[in-house]
Symmetry: C2
Subunit: 346 residues, 2 copies
């Protein structure tokens, strides 16, 4: 019989609340014969305050033995900026070699978008997850003095770029429009940018059915608001992907709906699924957080583990729920989770 | 008697056309007693094809002797990406130590914005212009092979950050709302990010009247489309500024209206004014380009040289022209220039 051995990292702020709803919907959608086992990990701001630890080796080893990880949100104003992000969230992405950071963007019917004219938005960003300016390479001298010099080094390898570019071509090939856009800044970041572009062109020869395009990151932001319907699959570097996917979330109804997967497609390590939003400490514990992004991340998780039907059921439920949402009534985190759990079970 | 000794670099694509209109309006707005002298520099794609040169030392020396530079646009698909950008445009910004890259964003009445609800947008981005990932620091090994490694180094100095931060505080202090937002990514780029934040906080102590705020660059893109009215002055690094100002242009009616100044406030070198848009080779020579961004850049140029009244006259003329623009009639580049020249003279 089938089983899922899931690690759960609620994390900080609204993480706890939204993850609870994700698990509720996961339980509701799974067929009876699938055995779901979950183990919760106490990681995040509270743990750090208590013990000074972000992600001890023993925890990392234990996490490695799961089929997948569901994560809520990491980060709290009481912790210096970067400590939890780099010591926990990015450490997981790097340790488990999550080189595909998958972020679909879809404007669901009836959801609010800041864009006039409600363009037809349905694209997916394949963000590189293990290189670029995220490797922690850099430093500073004479720190805190008027002579300080600080560097940040973007590290890029042909190996790292080729595998994410290839994955993006595969995804583009599998979609009806078969279009892939590379976003970089190769007129300024010429070394990394030209390597990305060369590999993009070279791998593209194996995918004659995929139409390709290149945009500088600054120009891409323009099209995100003026012509988002032009995008199908986008492949880009770690930092540009970070920026573009927040913007994508904003134009498709907000960060409350944006799901993501940190994926290692080789299966060598568990993949990790999380909403794009942060821990939102200002609304934590008040039942105000929209758990939909986490629930859609659960759909990505299920698809990654081979539960395509169940993933589709969650996405259809979200779509139907959004279509029937009535702008006047504000539902709690729990109520949205309940409504979606009912729909997927039904 | 007063005089302006102006260097003109039309550059590539639509550069020639829009600069011609900028000069037309400049001539029309200047009082009779101001002697305007211009010298045109043949720099850009054609020069490079002819001679292989981007910006020879003799030209750089000659440019240095002007009061200011008006630049159209640089870049052409026939030239490898980066050659003209780095060898000419960025070379000018670095050689003349243009540490303030000033980019105002205003949603003029009656102009099209992709945003529903037409928010009240009026902010200015103070983008650092001489550091960050733009210094050309980086390289690659085993280039073109499957073992290639490419780096891009972001270089940041306390000296460079403090002077741009201070300039931004001054600008914020002079505006009615007196609000300054720092945009960086200090939860990931911890070395550069913390230096920026520390200097931002330190300098802020000298400006108790200025309200401050910090946003990660990804979150900032969200607010650019959902709440752009929250911004007054933004200070940010070279690359984040590049990205944010294209997005700002998009939400305020497009890149046809976005002006910029590459400013060295010390006066040690001439400052350079240019539209934010590129050379748009697809529409070059057809009279389709909107010269308004260049004309607004001329206003920034005049203000920089102390012609505040004339700068204000150009901005008022653009405002009035936009308010009367009739969406149905498409005017040529020349017609828009003529209309604005008439208005500023009137
Ligand atoms: C919290 C932060 C480190 C993270 C990132 O920059 O990747 C977040 O913004 C995201 O997009 O998942
Ligand atoms: C052309 C390019 C080098 C330039 C930049 O990246 O600064 C442009 O995008 C700009 O914003 O002025």
């Amino acid at each position: 019989s089938r089983s899922i051995n899931l690690a759960v990292v609620p994390g900080d702020g609204i993480g706890q609340e939204v993850v609870a709803q994700g698990l509720k919907v996961l339980n509701a959608v799974l067929p009876q014969d699938v055995k779901l086992q979950t183990k919760e990990y106490d990681l995040g701001a509270q743990r750090w305050h208590r013990t000074g630890e972000t992600l001890p080796d023993a925890e990392l080893d234990s996490l490695k033995r799961h089929d997948a990880i569901l994560l809520g949100a990491i980060g709290d104003p009481s912790v210096p900026s970067g400590v939890l992000e780099r010591g926990l969230l990015l450490k997981l992405r790097f340790a488990f070699d999550h080189f595909i950071n998958l972020r679909p963007s879809k404007l669901f019917p009836n959801t609010a978008t800041p864009l006039a004219g409600r363009p037809d938005i349905d694209f997916v960003v394949v963000r590189e997850g293990t290189e670029g300016p995220y490797t922690g390479n850099g430093g500073s001298i004479r720190t805190g003095t008027e002579h300080e010099v600080a560097t940040e080094v973007s590290l890029n390898t042909a190996y790292g770029v080729e595998r994410v570019v290839r994955d993006a071509y595969e995804r583009a090939k599998a979609r009806p429009r078969k279009k892939l856009t590379l976003v970089h800044k190769n007129n300024v970041l010429v070394h990394a940018g030209h390597m990305w572009k060369n590999i993009f062109d070279k791998v593209g020869q194996e995918y004659p059915e995929v139409t390709t395009d290149y945009l500088h990151v600054d120009a891409a932001t323009i099209f995100f608001v003026t012509q988002p319907e032009r995008f199908d699959v986008i492949v880009t570097d770690n930092l540009f992907g970070d920026i573009l996917t927040d913007l994508a979330a904003a134009v498709t109804g907000g960060i409350g709906l944006a799901a993501s997967g940190n994926i290692n497609p080789t299966g060598a390590f568990p993949s990790m699924f999380e909403p794009v939003h942060g821990s939102a400490p200002d609304i934590a514990g008040q039942g105000k957080a929209d758990p939909t992004a986490t629930i859609l991340s659960v759909a990505l998780l299920l698809r990654h583990l081979g539960f395509e039907t169940e993933a589709g059921r969650i996405e259809a439920a979200v779509s139907a729920d959004l279509a029937e949402r009535d702008g006047g009534t504000v539902r709690t985190t729990d109520e949205i989770g309940d409504a979606l759990a009912v729909r997927v079970a039904g």
